[in-house]
Amino acid sequence: MIGFVSSLQPLGELVLVNACLAFSQYVVLRAGVFSLATAGFASLGAYGAAILAARHGVPMPLALVGAGLIGAVAGLVLSVPLSRLRGVYQAIATLAFVQIVLSLALYLEPVTGGAMGMNGLPRLIGGWELILVFGVIFYAMLALSRAGIGSTFDAIRQEETVAVSLGIRVVDYHRLAFALSGALGGLGGGLMALRNYSLVPEDFGFPLLIAVLTFVVLGGRVSPVGPVVGAAVLTLLPEIARPLADYRLLVNGVLMVLVIIYWPHGIVDTIRLHLRQRRHAVSQAAP
């Protein structure tokens, strides 16, 4: 029993780290911003945390805060030009950001170690710290969702023109979404760096970008539970169904196509919608 639980622990930790990255993608998508910059933010946060903790001996909590701050600043800076773009153009511009960060991480060898990356990093984060960080983020997301910001984000995503007519300053909220996404992405990257012993630029390329996007598409883009469910399902699925592990890419692809065609709101939001409709139907039938 104990052996089984201890074998699950690294997997559980991976789910939590992935969920943090998924939150970074979730925040922007909920606000109707088509940003794919999470992988870039994670890269900045990871290198930031690793350099702070390993080279300058900064204590772990401060290094994490630093990673989040670096991400948030990057998000804010990026939002200044990008809140002017929409849709495909925003997506492509953030893709460019991810590629620029990746190639700079390869180029700036004295700082980042280049293609070899950074090795022999101290492992400063264990299960309990991860649960604590995740709990704080999840609570913040729930609170954000219940406060007016969540519904403002929903309004902007569903119909920007209406949102403007309601007096919502769309650009401000887009900036907020970018900054939050940057902070969460940086934090997620920091968690990766302080847990993985090593760090290479390729960890934060196109594959990570797609993985994080898949978490949110599968889980759902409105409820904060969605990204957690998406990250958990996609991280655990190849482990539970061992024969599928070799076909991970295939399963991911098939899931993505099926979900976006048949359940375009994602697992959690589709179920919530369904429950709400049923409650509505019941309350109509009762009197």
Partner: protein
């Protein structure tokens, strides 16, 4: 100084291939107004089909080239059927189209990984005669000449189809307005299929050319080209044919020059930085004003 000219020449050849790849990419955006992120995977399959026609079937290279174009065209039509048509029927937004095409790209890549057992393949030695010419002190290989010639022929063919045939007229009509085209009796779904076929065939041709030029074919080769394809079509303007051509050439030159005189890691940073700037300053691309055949939508 000769070195600079030599690099410009090499960049011109590389750029032609990028243009070929990007033409199919931009064509789909111009007609359907969606980004097809499976284009890189179609390109990769084109390279594999070309390779297997040469190695397993032992057929000459020009047969392999045509086989790759046909096969990649059909795969591209399949991508449309699986990823885009169900969404179009429901009128889903661009976000869904991007997600489902990423999904199909992953399926295609995974199938190629299984089929190739994650190996890197090469065209057999002597598939293409290695001959060099000296022109005005510049070294030009026969391979480069054939690459440029085939790019020119294919581009001429594409322009011919688009601007001198009834099909082309229908494609342009659908690009301008699907509704009006349908009212005029054009079968919009057939035109979408045709557009995907042309786009895939161009990608397949580019796949074989790249496979021979760099002598390596593997299941991950589509991804970097997809990412660079973005730069090319943004430089030229999303949906613009002339833009994709010019963007490809500019891209090829900047890339070879920056790799030759700076470093290869920095080259990517420069190229993607260039794209980022263009998106901020002029999202309709450098050649946005020159083309009238396709619409650029800024949503």
């Amino acid at each position: 100084m000769t070195l600079v000219f030599q690099q410009i020449l090499n960049g011109f050849v590389v750029g032609g291939t990028y243009a070929l790849f990007a033409l199919g990419f931009t064509l789909i955006f111009g007609v359907l107004h969606v980004l097809n992120l499976a284009h890189g995977a179609v390109f990769m399959w084109g390279a594999f089909v070309g390779l297997f026609t040469v190695t397993s079937l032992g057929l000459p290279l020009y047969v392999a080239f045509i086989a790759a174009m046909l096969a990649a065209g059909l795969i591209s039509v399949l991508v449309d059927l699986v990823a885009f048509r169900p969404l179009r029927a429901r009128g889903s937004p661009e976000f869904a189209a991007i997600i489902s095409s990423i999904g199909v790209a992953q399926i295609l890549m995974s199938l190629a990984q299984i089929a190739s057992q994650t190996q890197v393949y090469r065209f057999p030695f002597g598939t293409f005669p290695i001959v060099f010419y000296n022109v005005l002190g510049l070294r030009i290989s026969l391979q480069q000449i054939v690459i440029v010639a085939s790019v020119v022929v294919l581009v001429a063919l594409l322009l011919g189809i688009l601007f001198a045939t009834s099909f082309g007229r229908q494609i342009r009509a659908v690009a301008i307005s699907e509704r009006t085209a349908a009212l005029l009796g054009i079968s919009v779904s057939n035109i979408h299929g045709l557009t995907f076929f042309i786009s895939g065939a161009l990608a397949g041709a580019a796949g074989v050319i790249i496979g021979i030029a760099f002598n390596s074919v593997h299941f991950l080769m589509g991804e970097p080209y997809l990412l660079r394809g973005f730069v090319v079509i943004i430089l030229g303007g999303l949906g613009s044919i002339t833009g994709a051509l010019a963007g490809g050439l500019i891209f090829g030159m900047v890339q070879t020059l920056s790799i030759a005189f700076l470093s290869s890691a920095l080259s990517d940073a420069i190229l993607f930085g260039m794209m980022f700037l263009i998106l901020l300053v002029r999202p309709s691309g450098l050649f946005g004003a020159l083309h009238r055949q396709v619409r650029v939508v800024r949503q």
